[in-house]
């Protein structure tokens, strides 16, 4: 048997009625700065659609019962409680801050696509003044980090980031490839996803060369890593 790990939470009221990907009962394990939600299963789960959907259902159910929940990466398992506690102890110091960021919030995702009439793949790397790969390599310390971060934010999506500033509590941007310009992940207060969608629709109407596809709300997958 292996202990399959689903999420770290500040606390989960109840686990009754929630079964794991192998239909196993879930358990809470007390670790440093967090409760670990896990289940004992006979073998690692397969990577297939049914299992992904099953794990998504588990995480969503847990998210509904915890004010701050950090989902685990799919496939994370250990051989017992002691190993689980040891593994969590490595990240324990960062957990209070990570819980604070996501507490009472949910994730919205916007995929920013170039329309057929838009110019081809943007050759620019980030906002004006941002250095390219060569320049960033030459930078050091904080300037290097700023240059690297700015490269992840295509200038075309600035209206989206600026226009959602009043409702989004945190933003992560991943530059895309092919026709996907970028994926924007934002945290909003739980219950405000409809308002967020309406705001994005208003912004989309002002960006004829881009198509914005919104999904969510979902658990805070994109904000679970440190």
């Amino acid at each position: 048997m292996i202990l399959y790990l689903y999420a770290l939470a500040d606390r989960v009221e109840r686990l009754d009625g929630i079964a794991g990907v192998g239909d196993e009962p879930l358990v809470q394990i007390e670790t440093a700065n967090a409760r670990l939600v896990a289940g004992w299963i006979a073998a690692p789960p397969a990577i297939d659609r049914a299992t992904l959907e099953a794990q998504d259902r588990v995480i969503r159910a847990l998210h509904d019962r915890a004010s701050a929940l950090l989902p685990m990466r799919f496939g994370t398992a250990v051989d017992g409680v002691e190993a689980a506690v040891r593994a969590v102890s490595i990240v324990a110091r960062t957990l209070p801050e990570r819980f604070e960021l996501v507490r009472g919030r949910e994730q919205m995702t916007v995929r920013v696509l170039r329309t057929a009439g838009a110019a081809g793949a943007s050759g620019s790397l980030g906002s004006p003044g941002a250095t390219g790969a060569t320049g960033a390599t030459g930078a050091t310390g904080a300037s290097y980090l700023r240059a690297r971060a700015s490269r992840e934010v295509p200038p075309e999506i600035a209206p989206l980031v600026d226009g959602t500033r009043t409702i989004a509590r945190a933003t992560r941007v991943e530059r895309g490839s092919s026709d996907l310009l970028a994926t924007v992940y934002q945290l909003v207060e739980r219950g405000r996803s409809a308002e967020y969608r309406e705001q994005v629709e208003r912004i989309a109407a002002t960006l004829p060369h881009l198509r914005l596809r919104v999904s969510g709300p979902s658990p805070v997958f994109a904000f679970a890593r440190d």
Partner: protein, 69 residues
């Protein structure tokens, strides 16, 4: 006829298909979430960390999505 690579990898095409929700699943579950350090953790799961991190949407979607004509 095999579609050209750019078409096959089109994210817009995926997002307009019935598999749109699967894109979110793959992105969230395989590429996001808490990563616990230590070889024991992911090694026991029989899910190759390299596969998960580098395979990302391309490999995972190829494996999960039905073949397209």
């Amino acid at each position: 006829m095999t579609p050209p690579p750019t078409d096959r990898r089109s994210v817009a095409r995926l997002l307009e298909s019935p598999d749109q929700s699967l894109v979110d699943l793959v992105d969230s579950l395989l590429d996001k979430g808490v990563v616990l350090d230590g070889e024991l953790v992911l090694g026991l799961a029989d899910v190759d960390l390299v596969y998960v991190r580098l395979g990302l949407v391309l490999a995972a979607a190829d494996r999960i999505l039905p073949p397209r004509s």
